[in-house]
Symmetry: C2
Subunit: 130 residues, 2 copies
Amino acid sequence: MVFVSDTTVVPPELACPISPVVDLVFSRWTTPILWVLNEFGRQRFVELERRITTISPKVLTQRLRQLERDGFVVRTYHPEVPPRVEYEITDLGRGLGPLFASIAEWSVNLDKVEQARSDYDARKPSPRAR
Amino acid sequence: MVFVSDTTVVPPELACPISPVVDLVFSRWTTPILWVLNEFGRQRFVELERRITTISPKVLTQRLRQLERDGFVVRTYHPEVPPRVEYEITDLGRGLGPLFASIAEWSVNLDKVEQARSDYDARKPSPRAR
DNA sequence: GATAGTAGGTACCTAGAGGAAAGTATGGTT
DNA sequence: AACCATACTTTCCTCTAGGTACCTACTATC
């Protein structure tokens, strides 16, 4: 499947070596969840729900399971009545810190994107052939 | 909309300050496209198509337009016959390099994720209440 | 005059993600 | 005996991203 000659052709995952990480870490809702777990420490389901205001409980459960399975989060179940569950970020999850930091750094460029968009939209509505 | 007291409640964008960048840079297909543009330099539509083997032409066009509008890519149209179009990454796009680099660095942890998944799957199929 | 080649555009269709709302188990409170 | 709270689960529904397939314009070439 991998030819390296005149035309370099590789499968999509190899065409971009960072894709696996991107799919893993930056899939929908995972960054907000990991962020608040990292910011506010161990917390319960409802607390997460209240902080990430727009997430539905169903999706929150799904993402938390996935994050737990991937080793980013630990779930602790307290068999009380009513039941209590706590979620905490793991060392592996905390290891994403530098990554998040470099993203935060880059965000100073967001206004350049804004500028580019204005410029693009200003250049006639559809100059597709020049 | 922002209360800071006992319960810190903020809108979702603010709950995670890196979300805007994530939505912008790590939406589907954008990383492979930017990656190959950065790796292989200026290239034509069909070359991109051949390198990112699994993308459909429709989606490739959509993403390229979006990347152009956001200022990550410049498109150059040559009115020849048959027409020729070249895409190139901009300085703004190249500025994502350090970001991509830190992601590539983190990817050494991918096997830990694999391990976590095996462990999770091994711990009885559904021990949801312990 | 049929075909090829480029860089798309357009119409149609489907799968999957995600939202809303109700249900579940448990025991305590009123 | 109704009701509450928690942490989900389940059902149903919708919406959109993305795929397939076909169409466009233009000329050279067979």
